[in-house]
Symmetry: C2
Subunit: 217 residues, 2 copies
DNA sequence: AGAGAACTTGACTGATTGGTCAAGTCTGGT
DNA sequence: ACCAGACTTGACCAATCAGTCAAGTTCTCT
């Protein structure tokens, strides 16, 4: 058997791997555009180019499919946190994290919306993830920021509100992309606009913390 | 006939006014918690304490009811903009606007979520509002900020990204309230926490624009 | 008191949709 | 060539839900 190392799951055939990927991508888009209840298995099937019954061969239920979509974006965001740790001080760490989250808002718009939807509805399916993984992650980042403050490397603010501000601002560009594009003359933001928005967000936040804008991440 | 002046709508009986209010409030909460498709007329009826058939006596359809809920929060936000105009300079204007939007996130959590949901799904029902009312409002605020910049009253930034940052950050406290409360030990933010969060948001944004924090709004 | 309008409500209906199933087809190993 | 397991799929079913309706009850005005 030549599959990659695969801790929890049974080895997959090529066909299975490919079809699961097709279905997950279609599901992410459809859940993002219509919400959990608004999405139908038929829409997802059409988008994936497969008959509906096939979806139930690979995923036990609509809810199971949805859960995998939600977890996927969460772990992508978690990885973005690496920008934080490996950096010397707050200016580089925060601006790299912000830039990375902005990038993810551009490339993973659908996932971000699905997450927002799930949380807005009270996280019926990922409450345990919030209480464990997100809580741990947040606490560790708060400690890191408190360290910077204690070392006099940035203006003292409650790190919690700072983190929320970064999440809110960056994810807004994914979740409210439609509004932003409407206000942009019904056109997506250009490369230059994304870059300027990222620079502005970094500039205001770092400036507000008494830092100079870091390298253009 | 003693009804208030009422431009577009027919005069209403007391009973009608009261029941429409009951239903709209119930609908706002249910749409916020379940999304448009996830909400059922039966849930709204139960929350309003009325039989379902009664809802259809006052509102022609689920969609009509939803539209009124969405429009209500939009006009509440529009009014918050007054904080902007009537202020002397950027420090007072922006911090009053931010404080007002934070307050609305606390008092109108449901409405904010309904709006977020609607926009995330591509604004199928309020696209015209985005293109007209929101666009006009935004353009006028952008001009105001550009005026401040031209007068050297604040650091030059693209006002558009600044506005998005304010919207994102303040609305995050409504839309992601569940996540924030989970990270707060499953308890709502206290008065003191709301005040501190507001001060922190104002402080970072004003600081990032080269301003001193305004009066505690 | 009486008439007409406003309001109330339980029972019903047609359409939608998540999920099932049984009858297939395809593929790799021997 | 043949078999077993993996995969495919059209047809179907039971549950849910927006909206209707007709038979009421309660107001309001004279």
């Amino acid at each position: 058997m030549r599959s990659e190392l695969n801790i929890t799951e049974a080895p997959k055939t090529e066909i299975r791997a490919e079809n699961e990927r097709l279905i997950l991508n279609a599901a992410e888009a459809v859940f993002a555009e219509h919400g959990f209840r608004g999405a139908t298995m038929q829409m997802i099937a059409d988008r994936a180019g497969l008959p509906k019954a096939n979806l139930h061969y690979y995923f036990t239920s609509k809810e199971g499919l949805y859960r995998q979509v939600v977890e996927r974006i969460f772990f992508i965001w978690l990885e973005a946190a690496d920008a934080f740790e490996t950096s010397a001080g707050p200016a580089a760490g925060l601006s790299r994290y912000i830039a990375r989250k902005m990038e993810l808002s551009r490339t993973h718009r659908h996932g971000s919306k699905v997450w927002a939807n799930e949380v807005m509805q009270g996280a019926p399916l990922v409450q345990d993830t919030l209480e464990t993984a997100l809580r741990e992650w947040t606490d560790s980042r708060i400690s890191a920021i408190e360290g910077w403050i204690a070392a006099g490397q940035m203006r003292p603010v409650n790190p919690r509100w700072l983190l929320y501000m970064i999440w809110a601002t960056t994810q807004h560009y994914a979740d409210f992309a439609h509004q932003i594009e409407t206000l942009n003359g019904a056109r997506p933001l250009s490369d230059a606009q994304w870059a300027e928005a990222t620079r502005t967000v970094c500039g205001i936040i770092l400036g507000g913390l008494g830092l100079h804008a870091g390298p253009a991440a």
